[in-house]
Symmetry: C2
Subunit: 345 residues, 2 copies
DNA sequence: GTGAAAGCGCTAACAC
DNA sequence: GTGTTAGCGCTTTCAC
């Protein structure tokens, strides 16, 4: 590292005091036009830029947001990360990424590292937090927003789509489509999104007097979802018994895995043999090869609500935590039989 | 923000000096077992953790690596980001993400922001740099490694696959497959990867006396690639003229876009009507719906070489810049007609 | 409006 | 091995 240029150097060169330089480079500065000009010229010639870390030390504002994320294989998360990052950059923040590996639950350690960096806020976009973790966050005074998950602990802000309603919509759609054997492949059961989606789905089925035909767990994971599909459709497993004619899969990532699996391994046609409905509406879902009927999670709105909530909590630490739920539309495509009169547009 | 707990507080509580606390929490510490115990107990009770930013200020080691990335829609980059992040975390670094928007070339500004955060190193995983930018990086003394791109400027380290060789392999494969009308859909022509892949491809064609049948540009972008495909295969465009029987597409992301487009819009079969070969071998490429023949970019090795190079440059600023090229294998699947005797495995 | 001085939380000489 | 001292580069009173 070459010698860094400090405000001292600029001050010397401009023939002013160091604090004058600081003021010129501070947002709420109060410097004369002449002063500003002198300093900025000297700064430019030297290539000076203020050291954010030193500034953070004194202001307590690092302009760093920690984002915990995992499993970028599920296209929903890269999409979210990209938009979150962009939105935060626009607000003058930058994103410090923490990759959580799903295997070991080292989220505790991650949180420590996050706090070590003096992040001003945390977005948990994967991995859930124990109540203990939540308490530690609160204690540290760093605002946290859960993205696409909630927590029983009321003190944490959370932004999700309305997963219960989404689950309901899927059930309504499949029942209206006259499906007789409706199954479910669940995501990770520890996730609030999964519990809510399934709750809405099951509730609606029950209210309409329709039994759940079958259920497997795919843990929001590609391979696990394919295992689940094999258990549900594989000849040696179903031996003799009928297979479902519709499956609500817990997210698009798994739904695509299931489609790939049952078309390729069992020669099943979608939706002629079996209807598939997902959740998220990732970009891939609209590709002709899949044309996946799904519930859209309104990503742009989720991102802007997340950023707004976080920034509010940062600026006003007294502001109450909020839990925002955004309705997601059913996007009807061709992976599930469409009831009469249900067509989009 | 609640009052932060400082090493002072711990020192007071443990009845030792503040520097003793610092030593206990420093890697190359020299503290007696007794001391360590006392301090750690006090620290635990108070929930103390050292402030990395303050440490950085004095050590000059922020443990932050800036990663510039863009267009996470192309699955190659989320995969890379995940692995880079994980590898760097393992080395005690964390990743500050800078999203470059492809539209405006604000890379200049991004670089400034990067340096403001006192990053110890920079990985450019998207967006190329002007020579001017490269010079500024060098001047700032912050090591830079280009990931999946090179630059004429020899002073920047770069890790890529052997794109020229990869392009050659595709040409050899398509020629051996007895294709008669071989076309190319190029990525962004400003990218070294594109230039190299095409160079290798064209060179091999020429050496074997095979003309390039057609060429369009897809800019590594999904929609643009589909436009390119329409120009190449659309009836009103090709009016009367024959269409290619093989296309080498500049990366998988575009290749998938092209497959989707020509199957859906023109009813073409792959590979019966037209062979498609991509580049990268992203996860999606192996899905049965695509079964894309492609050149594999050895991601794990590219990532570990990138991290190694960067960490070396950080630890020894005198270490020379290196340009690493890793050979990538041709992965034969079903999107392109396979010459006799070429089958994998 | 500007400069002098104090200090953010920590590490690194330096004495003992 | 431990405490004392001096800063890292910056913002922020406080006088003027």
């Amino acid at each position: 590292m070459k010698e860094a240029i400090t405000s001292q150097h600029v001050a010397r060169k401009a023939g002013v005091s160091q604090s004058a330089v600081s003021r010129v480079f501070s947002p709420g500065a109060s410097a004369s036009a002449e002063m500003t000009a002198k300093v900025q010229q000297a700064a430019n010639e030297l290539g000076y830029r203020p050291n954010i870390l030193a500034r953070s030390l004194i202001t307590g504002k690092s302009k760093i947001i920690g984002v915990v994320v995992a499993y970028l294989e599920n296209q929903f998360y890269p999409q979210a990360l990209e938009k979150l990052s962009l939105a935060l950059q626009q607000q003058g923040f930058h994103v410090l990424v923490f990759m959580a590996t799903m295997t070991d639950d080292n989220v505790d350690q991650l949180l420590d590292e996050l706090l070590d960096y003096q992040v001003e806020g945390i977005i948990m976009a994967s991995a859930s937090m124990s109540s203990d973790l939540a308490r530690r966050c609160r204690k540290s005074g760093v605002p946290v927003v859960l993205f696409n998950r909630r927590q029983d602990d009321e003190t944490l802000s959370a932004v999700t789509s309305n997963n219960i309603l989404g689950g309901r919509k899927v059930a309504q759609f499949l029942i209206a489509g006259n499906h007789q054997r409706i199954a479910h492949i669940a995501g990770w059961e520890g996730a609030s999104t999964q519990r809510d989606r399934e709750l809405g789905f099951i509730t609606e089925l029950q209210q309409q007097g329709v039994p759940l035909f079958n259920r497997e767990v795919g843990n929001y994971h590609f391979e696990s979802a394919q295992q689940a599909a094999r258990a549900m459709f594989g000849r040696e497993k179903t031996n003799g018994k009928p297979i479902p004619d519709a499956v609500f899969v817990g997210n698009d990532h798994m739904a695509l895995a299931v489609m790939e699996c049952i078309r390729d391994e069992f020669g099943l046609r979608v939706p002629e043999d079996v209807s598939i409905v997902g959740y998220d509406d990732v970009d891939l879902a609209s590709w002709p090869s899949f044309s996946l009927t799904t519930i859209r999670q309104p990503l742009n709105r989720m991102v802007s609500e997340t950023v707004n909530t976080l920034v509010n909590n940062i600026n006003d630490s007294a502001s109450a935590s909020s839990r925002i739920e955004i309705d997601g539309d059913l996007i009807i495509r061709n992976s599930a039989r469409v009831p009469d009169g249900w067509n989009n547009a």
